[in-house]
Amino acid sequence: MKRLLAGLLVWMAAFTAFGQGSTLEIVITEGQDRARPLAIVPFQWLGEGEKPYDFAEVIAADLTRSGRFSPVARNQLPATPGKDTEINDYSRWARLGVEALLVGEVSPLSGNRFQVTYELIDPLRGQITGGTAQAMVDGALVNSNEHIIEGRSSVVSPAQFRQYAHRISDVVYEALTGERGAFLTRIAYIYIDWDAENPYHLMVSDYDGYNERVLLRSPEPLMSPTWSPDGNKVAYVSFENGRPEIFIQDIYTTQREKLTSFPGINGSPAWSPDGKKMAMVLSKDGAPDIYVMDIESRQLTKITDHWRIDTEPSWTPDGKSLVFTSERGGRAQVYRVDLDTKRVSRITFEGESNLGGNVTPDGNGIVVVHRANGLFHIARQDFPRGNLQVLTQTSLDESPSIAPNGSMIIYSTTYRDRQVLALVSMDGRFRARLPAREGEVKAPAWSPFL
């Protein structure tokens, strides 16, 4: 039943390195002033010669990019302790105005492995207790070290350095915000190099643009990448056979299967939260309608049936309903359909039209492409009803995708006549651009937690 396709026209190169370095590079355009100061102290290297990796640099970049934090420049740090016991004066750190400082040590082990130890310290608390707070535990007075917010140690190999740095960023972010970090995530997107023989590329990279890999190269358009909930597969639309078809590809094994090839549109795939079903758009019966397919059995259920355009299905986190874009009311607006009752209700009302709805992971909001006065911006509305807030000021914004912790939105926009990716925080305060060095980048999809 499952046909594995060896694409003849298509060059597939799973996880072959793409070019040199990364194509995407983040330029923060707004929102730094509201971020909370932090001290990320360069980790002490306890071995011989050059230190093998600059963990602090990656962690500082992560936390800056979250829009929540603003790490103090290295040359302004009063000292470079490697651990809490090396700090003799907390007040110097408290005076720096930082709410926390991260210190760490890297020591060599046998077999090209390294022990990485780090501590996240509250300098104000340390200043009060002198670093040696004592507390009564089972009737005895013990040192509590309550000024140390987090402290961990791990053995890592050089290939895991960057990943482990992102892990530390996650720990710091969660400790200080109470919200899970999304630094160990990836994005899938479409990269177009108009001058190449195969212009259309399906790409996967770390969320920050590093470790970019080509999953597929094609002479014909590729669209709509979307992640499986386990983060192992992407579904997408390929025109390699002269018409749109939905494919599923394992990003590690490169195994690829064609899911649909109906007459007309096969588009906008979206995995259900349990990973068993795929919502999609098919126009085999005339106008584009929303369908849900059971991936294992390929059984198809028609969800909407309207003579005007229905498209862009997106699951609510509970998996019980879909939001979608429909023209049934005239202009395109976002609607919700209950999968059991098939009852349809309209959700968006503001502006000329609203498209591409994505419900936030907590189910309290919906992110849409909002058109007003002929301009397309990313906006957030309470879900299902409520206030709509425009988040971006870029132009021709489309394809919003929400980070799995709900903190940030990645989307496609136009900058200097080229399509580029951009980030905006859910409150709209932090904005950054991820320009490609050349070509166009579009259709970003943020992975689940990996």
Binding site: W194, P221, M223, S224, F239, G242, R243, P244, G264, I265, G267, S268, V281, S283, P288, I309, T311, E312, T325, A332, L355, G356, V369, R371, F376, S395, L396, E398, S399, T414, D417, Q419, K442, A443
Partner: protein, 177 residues
Amino acid sequence: MQLNKVVKALAFAIPVLALAACSSTPDADSDTTGTSDTQASQDRRGVEVGGADRMRTPEEQRQQRYAELRQETTIYFDFDDSGIRSEFAELLSAHADYLVRNPSVSVVIEGHTDERGTPEYNIALGERRAKAVGDYMRNLGVQSSQITTVSYGEEKPIARGSNERAWSQNRRAVLVY
């Protein structure tokens, strides 16, 4: 706009071609005998035999005009609209006429949009444009079996750039034989 130029050029060229057909210029498709007479005249010395071109029937003139029109395979649309503009009626009639007379020939109608709006919505809009052209051709007698439609949405722009000039060229349907 590029297309206006083409239309204007054709509007000028068609009467010229029609006039040319009435003049003494040999025409490959209507006057083969005249050509052989001229060659024969070169063998017989002393006399020169001339021949007038047969007057073209209105039907032949129409075919000539349609053949010229069929060189153009792209029609353009207004923003967020799939209505066939009246200026493209004759162009589509020319293609439909050809397909009706050649039932074994099939055509793929590609629908395209400009970059505004979401890619998924634009795939649907591009399909609506392609289908509008297909319906138009069917109404002119073309068999459904001769027509396939495919929408590329905003994915295959012919002009790049985020301005009305590029957008107007990208909002199109293309007939591919």
